[in-house]
């Protein structure tokens, strides 16, 4: 797919966007839902980066989180349960010129779409993936999800959920080709914004788990963390998240963590209390699948014709007399 170069140049001078250029439909999420904070941060990011709305695509699966694209004024694809990642990969493969974001939930990504999640990490295609993790199924009305803490009472686990929660960061960091892993919480918007910005700037599969509140089904789940700033572990580093003085004033529990340290990242990934917030891992040197596959090449009809004729030549039985095409007799 090709775009006229002149058109790109012209647009470079004209484009300037305001927040409302990215605001689509009015969100229908519940009051107090963490998704609202994620939406606000993403719209701000789009504005600050001056992303062209027509070159930006939000792909989602199914669930509360996956309504996200409807609330953006960019291109969007609200698809089917669990398949946002392979669809986003197809978009990126066909059109590496597009800026691709994925919004997925803990059910969408870590349960029904888990296979795609593992492989998306391996493909390392350049996209920003937000895991909206509220640790419960919301749209289907309160069933335990893979990330629900053990003992979570839900409609399918009335006596408490049976299994230990899956740790999405630990899983992600265990997959070959992982290139960017971060964790944010919806209630520290400034840090959420900074992390999403870093994720967007990273070239590769940027995976951000965003711990978000569900006021409808698990209203009290994060109360201890909200009430006690010590229960958040901020990961700061000169090559990672830069923590502002204002944030430092409140969140004093901090660790200097170098995002190139994979082993320490893996240790941090399995900590549930306090909640680590920051960039756990970043490796800018992992190749992107779309680059390995030389996607988005210009293909002319002449090229296709030449390729096809060369193949037909291999399989053609010519009507000529044998002597014309023969080898010397053995």
């Amino acid at each position: 797919m090709t775009i006229a170069a002149t058109e790109c140049l012209l647009r470079m001078y004209e484009e300037h966007h305001d927040l409302e250029d990215y605001q689509g439909g009015v969100p229908r999420w519940c009051t107090g839902c963490g998704d609202n904070a994620i939406l606000a941060a993403v719209q701000r990011l789009c504005r600050d980066e001056d992303l062209r709305p027509e070159k930006t695509v939000f792909v989602s699966g199914i669930g509360c989180s996956s309504r996200f694209p409807h609330y953006m004024k960019t291109y969007g694809f609200h698809s089917i349960h669990g398949r946002a990642l392979p669809i986003a990969e197809g978009v990126k493969m066909a059109r590496p010129d597009l800026d691709v974001f994925v919004n997925t939930g803990d059910g969408d990504c870590c349960s029904i779409g888990a296979a795609h999640w593992i492989h998306a990490i391996r493909y390392n295609m350049n996209m920003t993936v937000m895991l909206h993790d509220n640790q419960i199924y919301g749209l289907t009305k309160m069933q335990a999800s893979p990330t629900s803490p053990r003992g979570t009472k839900s409609n399918t686990t009335p006596r408490g959920s049976y299994l230990e929660a899956l740790q999405p960061l630990a899983v992600t960091l265990g997959v070959q080709n992982v290139s960017f892993v971060a964790q944010a919480v919806d209630w520290i918007p400034e840090v959420l914004y900074d992390i999403l910005s870093a994720a967007h700037h990273h070239k590769g599969f940027s995976f951000v788990r965003i711990i978000q509140r569900c006021p409808e089904w698990l209203p009290k789940l994060f109360d201890p963390f909200l009430h006690d700033p010590q229960k958040v572990l901020l990961l700061g580093h000169e090559r990672g998240l830069h923590i502002s003085p204002a944030v430092s004033k409140v969140y004093k529990n901090q660790e200097q963590h170098d995002p190139s340290n994979l082993n320490r990242a893996r240790e941090i990934a399995s900590i549930a209390d306090p909640i680590p917030v920051g960039i756990l891992y970043r490796n800018p040197d992992v190749p992107c699948y779309e680059d390995l596959r030389n996607s988005g090449q210009t293909r002319s009809t002449a090229m296709i014709k030449a390729g096809l004729e060369a193949e037909f030549d291999k399989f053609t039985v010519w009507p000529q007399e044998p002597s014309e095409r023969a080898l010397p007799a053995a």
Binding site: I87, A94, D97, N294, P319
Partner: protein, 637 residues
């Protein structure tokens, strides 16, 4: 005994191989079915394909079909492990693999037994059997050989023992790697094929390797040719006009892959599955040279989703699979239908249900293709019936998909997948290739789904187009692609998506009738059965029966004019390679009889009493079987 007498007699004695005395009479034939069968890895397939190519260059009609064991490395000398090729040679164009084989070369008696048990051989088939096993050091093997040999002779097969191993060892140190070319040489002699064409074919087939390999294979070919001339007392000739135009000799899966290339699509997403995978094997080799991508996804669902994502963002994309994979893709296919994203899905059908018979042919997925995916999910379903069709159908499918923003399912099958048939080399047309998507700015006020009230068609805009920003959704949506719960809007959306099938139907041509335009019996088929049906019909017509046939390329929508054709015949029936209940079964009657898929569709759509006959033996239906069925049905009156 001369060859003529031999052909007429119901011989019951073993053939003695020895120097042939005097001039051999050459028997002229119109067609013959030859099989070459060996253990896996002994090169019988290469021998068969080469024989087909040589005969095609002679101007003969050819159909070759692979005989594939289900296992990757079946044990040597096993009844179920035979690997090889069936080649049907004819004076005229050959459209199917034909009936039971007339001549077989077997590298051991066990793989031969497998073919006997499959009913693949004529009762008086000529068998050329490698005889090295008679003197095998393992007494069990030698005994097994002798026992089988004796049984075959007693059963009436005309068995010639041939010392392939011994003769090949005179030329190469490892006869296992050489017998196939020796056999090819013998077959060239037996069918009076031009030996020089055989040498050319070896140069083509082994050309990439060094000259030594070519030379030793040519020596083996010549040795086989000479040996057959000196030791076998029969030979055939299948006269043909030398071909006047270039022919392409490929199998259906290669044809599909070349169709993908020719259609100008950029991306093929797939997951390995038999018997579809060779489409992607071949495409992986050639597609990237022209900037295309074959993506092997982590599973079938991902492959389909990836294709949908790529289609959504640009040109129509293709995903290739077989039955089980097709089942897995259903939900994603429904998404493409709902969002009106063009998509081509190729389903190379195999035996089902479940894992079924992965390497065997069946036409069992028609309903899944048409009605699969929940809710009302109208898709176009087409079925190529020849190798040539496989190529062109992808180009057509891509065009329909993009014109109507629909999913187009191409149903081929395991027979088409691995059969070869020469067809005229296609002349490239620029119209085949998908043009780049026009990404100009969307005029203000445009709707993502401006459904035409008469046809249901809507324009589509893709990411990158300024002013066209919208969010696609698998939820019910209005013309703005906004989620909508209004009953009227849901009605409107489903209506629009359904009308597109009618709009396509209006542009389809009525398929031609094979045979007379009216008569006592009309046979309807679809897909790979075309050649066999038409051969049976042609034979019966030559004997004065008023039988015709009609072959459907479009199963959904069905072309106009089909009911009118059916009404001109006394009886209508389908012949299909899928399940139907036999009406003669004790508990089967008209209230519970399950018809073959196409028969059921024709009955439902046209209110015509369409009968059917089908089988699910995992083999292509033979023209002889169709002939017997039709004769029986005609006699029933």
């Amino acid at each position: 005994m001369n060859a003529n007498a031999m052909l007429k007699s119901g011989v019951d004695t073993a053939r003695k191989v020895g120097p042939a005395s005097g001039e051999k009479p050459v028997v002229t034939l119109t067609q013959h079915v030859v099989e070459i069968i060996s253990d896996s890895g002994e090169g019988a397939q290469k021998c068969g394909q080469s024989l087909g190519a040589i005969a095609a260059r002679m101007g003969n009609g050819v159909w070759t079909e692979e005989i594939i064991p289900a296992e990757i490395r079946p044990p040597a000398r096993s009844v179920a492990g035979g690997s090889g090729n069936r080649i049907r040679l004819g004076s005229r164009r050959v459209t199917n693999a034909g009936n039971e084989a007339d001549l077989v070369i077997a590298f051991n008696e066990q793989v031969l037994l497998g073919r006997v048990r499959d009913g693949a051989l004529k009762s008086d088939c000529i068998i050329l059997l490698e005889n090295m096993w008679r003197d095998d050091r393992d007494p069990k093997i030698a005994a097994a050989y002798v026992e089988t040999y004796d049984r075959l002779v007693t059963a009436g097969y005309r068995v010639y023992e041939i010392p392939m191993e011994r003769e090949c060892l005179k030329i190469v140190s490892d006869a296992r790697r050489g017998k196939n070319m020796f056999a090819l040489g013998a077959l060239c002699k037996l069918y009076s094929l031009d030996l020089q064409l055989g040498r050319d074919q070896i140069a083509l087939a082994f050309g990439k390797k060094d000259a030594k390999v070519v030379k030793s294979n040519v020596s083996l070919l010549e040795a086989g040719y000479a040996w057959a001339g000196e030791n076998l007392d029969f030979a055939f000739r299948i006269p043909a006009d030398r071909a006047t135009e270039p022919q392409v000799v490929i199998n259906g899966n290669t044809a599909l892959a070349l169709g993908v290339l020719a259609s100008g699509m950029d991306v093929c997403a797939m997951y390995p599955i038999t018997p579809a995978t060779s489409v992607s094997h071949y495409l992986s080799d050639v597609f990237e040279k022209v900037g295309g991508v074959v993506h092997q996804a982590e599973d079938e669902i991902a492959a389909c989703s990836f294709a949908i994502g790529a289609s959504y963002a640009g040109k129509c994309t293709v995903t290739v699979t077989s039955g089980p994979g097709y089942s897995l893709k259903q939900e994603a296919i429904g998404l493409a239908v709902m969002c009106e994203i063009p998509l081509v899905v190729i389903n190379v059908q195999r035996g089902g249900p479940s894992t079924g018979q992965p390497t065997k042919v069946e036409q069992g997925d028609l309903f899944a293709a048409m009605f699969g995916s929940h809710g009302d999910a109208p898709k176009v379903v087409m079925a190529p019936s020849t190798i040539e069709d496989c190529f062109y159908s992808v180009i057509t499918a891509r065009k329909i998909a993009e014109t109507f923003n629909m999913v187009v399912v191409i149903l081929t099958d395991a027979t088409l997948a691995s059969s070869q048939q020469p067809f005229p080399r296609p002349q490239f047309s620029e119209a085949w290739v998908a043009a780049p998507f026009d990404q100009s700015e969307v005029p203000e006020g445009s709707k993502p789904y401006d459904w035409n009230p008469d046809t249901g068609l809507a324009r589509r805009f893709i990411p990158g187009q300024p002013g066209g920003m919208h969010t696609l959704t698998g939820l019910a949506h209005d013309t703005m692609s906004h989620v909508a719960y209004d009953p009227e809007i849901n009605q409107q959306g489903i209506r629009a998506r359904s009308l597109k099938l009618a709009a396509l139907q209006k542009s389809l041509k009525t398929p031609p009738v094979f045979g007379g335009e009216s008569g006592d019996m009309l046979v309807i088929g679809w897909g790979s059965t075309k050649g066999a049906i038409e051969e049976a019909v042609e034979g019966l017509r030559a004997e004065g029966h008023k039988v015709s046939s009609l072959h459907l390329t479009f199963l959904q929508p069905m072309a106009p004019g089909i009911k009118e054709i059916m009404q001109r015949f006394g009886k209508v029936m389908t012949i299909e390679n899928n399940w139907s209940d036999n009406p003669d079964e004790k508990i089967i009657d008209e209230t519970n009889r399950r018809y073959s898929a196409a028969a059921m569709l024709l009955r439902a759509r046209y209110l015509v009493d369409v009968d059917c006959w089908s089988e699910v033996r995992g083999q292509p239906i033979k023209p002889g079987a169709i002939r017997r069925v039709l004769l029986q049905k005609l006699q029933q009156g």
